[in-house]
Symmetry: C2
Subunit: 330 residues, 2 copies
């Protein structure tokens, strides 16, 4: 910076003023400085700026696994949105591990950042409440209502109820739920989607048949396939599947097709997430669109607000709108 100043005939401080634009500088000086900057190909040192100001200009995005479509699409949307706010995005894959989530929340990641957007998986709300105070933080996914941390979520239970309701509306009565995981906490996506499913049945005056709850600890393609294989091999009778996400549903679709089960004639299938491939599966998947880009935008915006306002302001909880996307599978 001093070098630039030397060429432009001013001090390093004036160069700083020109580049930051926060202090008035005469037009001639400005031009001279900019010329010198250009001539030397000077670029500001981020680390020094960070050290002096305490702001890094980057945020951390922590997700369980980038190779899951929902998360990668979310990551893409967050990156785009962060870019609009002038932030760089540093990525942390937590691999669904409690340990990694703790590290990230405690800010012990390898790289400091101004704030954190995290989708916790293994951590409980109690932990989070304590830990999130360490740094500006926005949570994705479901949490206890009233949690004093900014969080963006979708109406999981309502959406699940809507999806199940749709299956009921088209005359299905033996609707299996795929993705049940008995080890979930009270505010996980799993529990809430299951709750929505049950609520829809109950509203129709039906009881939940435990036989129709297909377990899947993880929600990948192979888990959906395995769950439906299980259903079939146990000889469970069902005429519809409500899958807790699209990957499960695509895995299910695959297995049904392998077994010669017609979709939607024999079995109707509804998914959840509306990932890109779902529109192009055979048959195209009816699913819940949870407004992922909206969630990304809301998250970045919430973080931005938090950084501007400081930790004192009340936490916001945004619930993103969803809608049912009707395609051919149900």
């Amino acid at each position: 910076m001093a070098d630039v100043g030397a060429i432009a005939g001013v001090t390093s401080r004036t160069v700083s003023n020109v580049l930051s634009g926060k202090v008035a500088v005469s037009p001639e000086t400005q031009a001279a400085v900019l010329r010198a900057v250009d001539q030397l190909g000077y670029r500001m040192n981020t680390a020094a700026k960070h050290l002096r100001t305490g702001r890094t200009g980057s945020i951390t995005l922590a997700l369980p696994d980038l190779s899951v479509d929902y998360f990668s699409q979310l990551a893409g949307a967050v990156a785009r949105e962060a870019d609009r706010h002038g932030w760089a995005v540093t990525l942390e894959q937590t691999n669904y591990e409690r340990q990694r989530e703790l590290q990230v929340l405690l800010g012990q990641g390898k790289h400091l950042s101004d704030g954190l957007i995290i989708q916790p998986y293994a951590l409980q709300d109690d932990d989070i409440e304590i830990l999130a105070a360490k740094q500006p933080c926005v949570l994705l996914g479901d949490h206890a209502p009233g949690l004093p941390v900014d969080h963006i979520t979708m109406a999981n239970a309502d959406a699940a109820q809507c999806a199940t309701q749709h299956l009921l509306n088209i005359g299905r009565r033996r609707i299996a739920a795929v993705g049940v995981n008995s080890s979930g906490g009270p505010h996980t996506a799993e529990t809430l989607r299951l709750r929505g499913y049950e609520a829809a049945l109950e509203a129709a005056g039906m009881l939940t048949d435990p036989e129709l709850l297909a377990e899947a600890r993880r929600w990948r393609l192979q888990d959906g396939a395995a769950a439906v294989e299980g259903l079939l091999s146990r000889g469970v009778h069902f005429d519809a599947l409500f899958c807790f996400n699209d990957s499960l549903a695509l895995g299910a679709l695959h297995v049904l097709s392998q077994h010669g089960v017609a979709v939607p004639d024999d079995v109707a299938v509804v998914g959840f997430d509306d990932i890109a491939v779902s529109a192009y599966s055979n048959p195209p998947l009816t699913t819940i669109n949870p407004g992922g880009t909206g969630i990304a935008a809301a998250a970045v915006q919430a973080l931005s607000r938090r950084l501007a306002q400081g930790p004192s302001e009340a936490a916001v909880g945004v619930v993103q709108d969803f809608h049912l996307v009707l395609r051919s599978s149900a």
Copy 2:
């Protein structure tokens, strides 16, 4: 750090020594310092360290679009691998834009990092050769042989030839190529895959029928769908599709199914990339597995080597092994 030292009864410098572990420190002092660190919950300031040492501890990963499966899976693998090397990963989405790619290569991103792993799309090799000198850099994707920059690639032409050969082997003679883009440079994946396709035909004593080249400027699901729609609406006769990536193939599969075309009986389909969903499509997609995790690992490793050795060492070019994954679509 000084505070920690005060509690432990030593200087900040000794604390630094303990934490870095590079200078000998007596066991008692070490214990005392660690206790103090723990007590204060002290964490080192990354920015200061960066400023002093010139190393950020993070690398930049620049990809066109995270919502493309191949890229997101690559990103996941790179993140995992970088983690093993103790690096944080900063993400840049270039959106296939020349401008963004330039910025990143010039190191004008918002955040400095020790090195760059980039999959260029719009930039030519000539540009890259000049620009990559600005910082340690590993290229992904295809480039002119002998390009003096570290690069990891796959045998695109060979793999495409292998895929096409397979279609010939199973008796197909009217094989359409999906994903052709006449505006590609000489060393893009598109050109190489097309070349492999043509080579296979030629080896079988056949000519390329221009009618069978289905254009697709981008390689997303909808582009594959549109390309095949075009083929069908033009009344082109074909008994196989070689799609330049899996998304195109899945889009194609979708359209074929919509039109009641049986796969593989009427039309065999081969893809390229072996993304996760391809194993679960209907029918499951035969495709080329380009060894994505291998590419990620090789990229991180190459960057690591480059950082250790400095810019003087000769550039390495790694060609990752591929293999044909036989499933039901061909």
